[in-house]
Symmetry: C2
Subunit: 202 residues, 2 copies
């Protein structure tokens, strides 16, 4: 059994949710599906603790419908629904610059399907770029254990190619050419800001 | 009946939640308590639509424990809890600059109680300032219909005064002296970025 948002998007519980969720624990999902998020959380923690950057994953947007209040000290949400996010998942500040990105995984080996994004996110990335924010996606090829940083402007261009009737994915070779491989390290695990500084800072 | 977080903080439903929540609708809370959030949402929408800035309120952090999946198309969260946010509520980008703020209201007429903040938020503001982000709080004096922008560095100083044994609030006269009155307008309702540009941009 797998969970889907009303839009058909899969609900993948985070490690944090998983620890106390017997329901989530029993759901069938790829453990590997959480690695990128975990690695990014660890990396962002590292950045925070070392005063390098302040970057957080945004909370999952939830529409709260019913709240119970059984005891003085605790409120329990009894009915709520997942909402489609209007933005990307991660943002924050690094050396005065606004950083904004989305992280996605694919089991595909030769391309990255654009259905992993939705139109709102493209619109958001355009708006961020217009405000001189630094905007990108981090794409993990699960089977190849390769992780790339691809600037938002390229993602938008591929999205628009699709809308013009072109292919529904970004070829891996295109990502290799236009993007930047993020080496997998120990601590931090994914030092993406090193790439940001080297390649994206004007 | 009012809702409290485990830490004793009040749960104030947003207008959005309210519209479909009969539970929330019946709770006793001040309608006026939502005006600041609504005004800021309207203002941020205005900024977005006019290409002025990209600033969002972060979703309320929720710890999801149990999810039901009655139909193929919908997941229902059946048990979840409010989590204490580790950051401020609003962030985004304005002319390349990282913007980060918290919005709070008080019914007090002569001072702003510091219990409206928690230690995590002070720590967050310090980290944002260290990264050259623009960080402030927006304080609304409900009874006086006056709204001020006060830079994070001042809020931190008042918090530290309290920790040294000093007063547990910021005097309104202190806010008047160090902060900046935000005029209430029509569209946008609270043009706080005008203040940011005039007073906070280096």
């Amino acid at each position: 059994m797998s969970l889907h948002y009303p839009n058909g998007k899969k609900y993948i519980p985070t490690r944090e949710n998983k620890t106390i969720s017997s329901t989530a624990r029993n759901m069938s999902y790829s453990n590997r599906g959480m690695i990128l998020e975990d690695d990014l959380n660890e990396t962002n923690q590292y950045y925070l603790q070392h005063g390098i950057a302040v970057i957080y994953k945004k909370p999952t947007p939830v529409q709260i419908v019913h709240v119970d209040y059984p005891q003085r000290s605790s409120a329990v949400i009894k009915e709520a629904y997942f909402k489609q996010p209007s933005t990307t998942d991660y943002n924050g500040v690094y050396q005065g610059k606004y950083i904004d990105f989305e992280a996605k995984e694919t089991k595909n080996k030769t391309s990255f399907p654009l259905k992993n994004f939705h139109a709102h996110q493209m619109e958001h990335m355009k708006q961020v770029i217009k405000q001189d924010g630094i905007c990108f996606v981090i794409v993990r090829f699960v089977m190849l254990e390769e992780i790339y940083l691809l600037e938002g402007k390229h993602v938008i261009a591929f999205w628009e190619r699709m809308q013009m009737g072109g292919r529904k994915s970004i070829k891996k070779t295109e990502i290799e050419t236009l993007g930047h491989l993020i080496p997998i390290g120990f601590h931090p695990r994914l030092d993406y800001l090193k790439i940001v500084k080297q390649k994206l800072f004007a």
